[in-house]
């Protein structure tokens, strides 16, 4: 990486890449625990190592400790051990005996995908509206900006709840709601930039020299828009991660059968006393992601400032 990049940007990007890689590839790389009897694996604390024995009648038993498998007396006659192995619950297990690490990585993949898709939607809506408002006539500009004002007047969480309550929540619906409620400040930002660039000397000079409109856009507008938009996008993504987590925590996000970091925290809170780890680790994951994005946003701001 370039040495001129601010430290914050490097730290943030490293964390983000690490999280994306872990959530993207992690569930594939993890050893899979065969279908087990939840009674033996529920609410195991982090780091618990168990012996897995698979029996010829299809049952899988988990026993704690590194000792040899228990005597076969508890097993029905005729059944024998097919295989034995070890499994470590690095982050513990939940009420149903599921490995929290796997749940965390799979939930993270969904949380990341929802946040990224809704960011993309917000970027398209925000940048599009901003450019249209900044370049069109006064009437359309005024109308669009009043619409932005009105939408910004809603408390975002309330607006999300209103839409989620009217329509049935699904993953696609959630992306639409999150994207449709977070493009307004971007539109304002882009419009402001376009308006201020319009009368800057280099743009006027370029136009006077006979540049076509797409040349002016490519050479002058877009480079000046990239920095501020990228900074806003990084911070916006952090907000979206938090918003998705909050809605899922409240049970108003994706259907409960799909794990996300927010719903994992919610499930962890149901067994707060018996399983502190269940709510703690997903929360740490959310905080790490949001902080990484904030660092990236700060870093981009710093880089743009240095370039100018």
């Amino acid at each position: 990486m370039n040495a001129r990049w601010p430290g914050r940007l490097r730290v943030g990007l490293t964390l983000l890449v690490l999280l994306v890689a872990l959530c993207g590839a992690g569930p594939l790389a993890l050893p899979r625990l065969p279908g087990t009897d939840p009674a033996h694996a529920a609410l195991l604390p982090p780091g618990t190592r168990v012996i897995v024995t698979t029996w010829s009648d299809g049952r899988v038993l988990l026993e704690p400790g590194p000792a040899a498998p228990a005597a076969a007396t508890s097993i029905e006659p005729g059944a024998r051990i097919v295989s034995t192995g070890h499994f470590t619950f690095w982050l513990g297990s939940d009420r149903y005996g599921r490995d929290l690490l796997r749940e965390l990585l799979e939930g993270g993949r969904i949380s990341l995908m929802i946040a990224a898709s809704s960011l993309l939607l917000a970027l398209i809506l925000g940048v599009g509206t901003g450019i249209v408002a900044g370049t069109s006539g006064r009437l359309l500009d005024t109308l669009l900006m009043r619409l932005v004002d009105a939408l910004l007047a809603f408390p975002v969480l309330f607006l999300m709840i209103l839409i989620v309550a009217v329509f049935r929540p699904s993953a696609a619906m959630l992306v639409a709601v999150l994207g449709a409620t977070s493009w307004m400040t971007l539109a304002r930002l882009v419009r402001g930039q376009v308006l201020s660039l319009r009368s800057r000397p280099f743009v006027l000079a370029s136009r006077a020299a006979g540049s076509r409109w797409h040349q002016v856009w490519r050479l002058h507008y877009l480079p000046h828009l990239t920095g501020p938009v990228a900074q806003d996008a990084a911070l916006r993504m952090g907000d979206l991660v938090l918003a998705e987590a909050t809605l899922s925590y409240l049970g108003l996000g994706v259907p409960p059968s799909i794990p996300t970091w927010g719903s994992l925290v919610a499930q962890g809170h149901k067994v707060l006393v018996d399983g502190w780890w269940l709510a703690t680790f997903p929360g740490v994951a959310i905080a790490t992601l949001v902080i990484a994005l904030a660092l990236i946003g700060d870093g981009i701001h710093e880089t743009v400032r240095r370039l100018e």
Partner: protein
């Protein structure tokens, strides 16, 4: 009329079309989109006649323009109809749940400002000193942590492990029998965890904001002049620099008006606080549209009023803003 008043009047007038748009947009979301509120009430178990009665009771059998006019009228007069879930006027539900919310958010806002400003001044006294570094890291950390998660940790520590503070509700079960002073104490004990977490989360961003303003002002010449006159450093920091640095904070105060109404939803849900956020949450589960609409409109009204208040406060406090208008 003075220019200041005229300016404020102009801003207030500009808020009217935005309010109208807000009311209309909510109507569009709820009514004009197919497959929304009318279907929601259509319980297939009901007989056609009973279904007709229900539709009539909520005015859904009328043509859309008429429903829209009624909706506008209701929004202006504050009449949001009857809750599907509680079978009570929404206005009464809001009136009952708003005070607990205001108690919670008001306390949190106070804590937010006091803690945020104090931390900012301490941090700005020695930029890059240890207080500054710790504050920066802490505020970044708190910014990233979801409040519901922080709340869970706090409950685990202070209610479950230590047993110091109650983990939910606003009063103890026997609160009604207690004398007034003990009742207040009981309320305060219930208030500490939710208001503390909300306030802490807010203080993190307030501290960052005020610190930046203070560091900006450190460069200005009037502070150099004050130092040349031999005024002690501490006095310069707390009096000379803090006053202009708080100017943007006055705007921030106006902008935090919506927080008072809508800022505590998640915390209210976790701590079973009997406020408006919790009402909205149960309404969302039951798809109790009249309640959700009323809460959303109230929240939006608070945002618009807060923006206006921020403008007015800024003009009132900053002499430069008055001259330029």
């Amino acid at each position: 009329m003075s220019p200041t008043l005229r300016r404020i009047g102009r801003r207030a007038l500009a808020a009217v079309p935005i309010l109208w748009l807000v009311v209309t947009l909510t109507f569009i979301v709820v009514h004009a989109v197919p497959g929304s509120v009318a279907d929601l009430l259509d319980n297939p178990d009901l007989s056609p006649a009973a279904r007709e009665t229900v539709r009539h009771r909520y005015g859904l059998d009328q043509p859309l323009p008429q429903q829209y006019m009624r909706w506008l009228e209701g929004a202006i007069t504050g009449d949001f109809g009857i809750s599907f879930l509680y079978r009570q006027p929404v206005r009464r539900l809001i009136a009952r749940t708003l005070p607990p919310t205001l108690i919670l958010t008001g306390t949190a806002l106070l804590l937010d400002l006091l803690l945020g400003i104090a931390l900012a001044v301490l941090a700005a006294a020695r930029p890059r000193g240890w207080i500054d570094r710790v504050t920066t890291v802490l505020s970044l950390g708190v910014y990233g942590m979801p409040t519901f998660w922080l709340a869970g940790l706090a409950i685990l520590l202070f209610s479950v492990q230590l047993g110091w503070l109650p983990s939910s509700h606003m009063h103890s079960l026997d609160a009604a029998t207690l004398p007034a002073a003990r009742r207040l104490l009981d309320l305060l004990r219930h208030l500490i965890l939710p208001a503390g977490i909300l306030g802490l989360a807010g203080a993190a961003s307030t501290a960052r904001y005020v610190r930046a303003a203070l560091l900006d002002i450190r460069q200005s010449r009037f502070l150099l002049a004050a130092r040349a006159r031999g005024i002690p450093r501490r006095r310069i920091l707390w009096i000379h620099a803090l006053r202009p640095a708080l100017l943007p904070l006055v705007t921030l105060l106006g902008l935090s008006l919506p927080f008072l109404v809508s800022g505590s939803l998640v915390i209210e849900v976790i701590f079973s606080w009997p406020g408006m956020g919790r009402l909205l949450w149960t309404a969302a589960w039951a798809r109790d549209i009249p309640v959700i609409l009323a809460a959303t409109l109230l929240g939006a009204g608070a945002v618009i009023a807060g923006n206006l208040l921020a403008d007015i406060l800024y003009v009132a406090v900053d002499p430069r803003a008055r001259r330029s208008s």
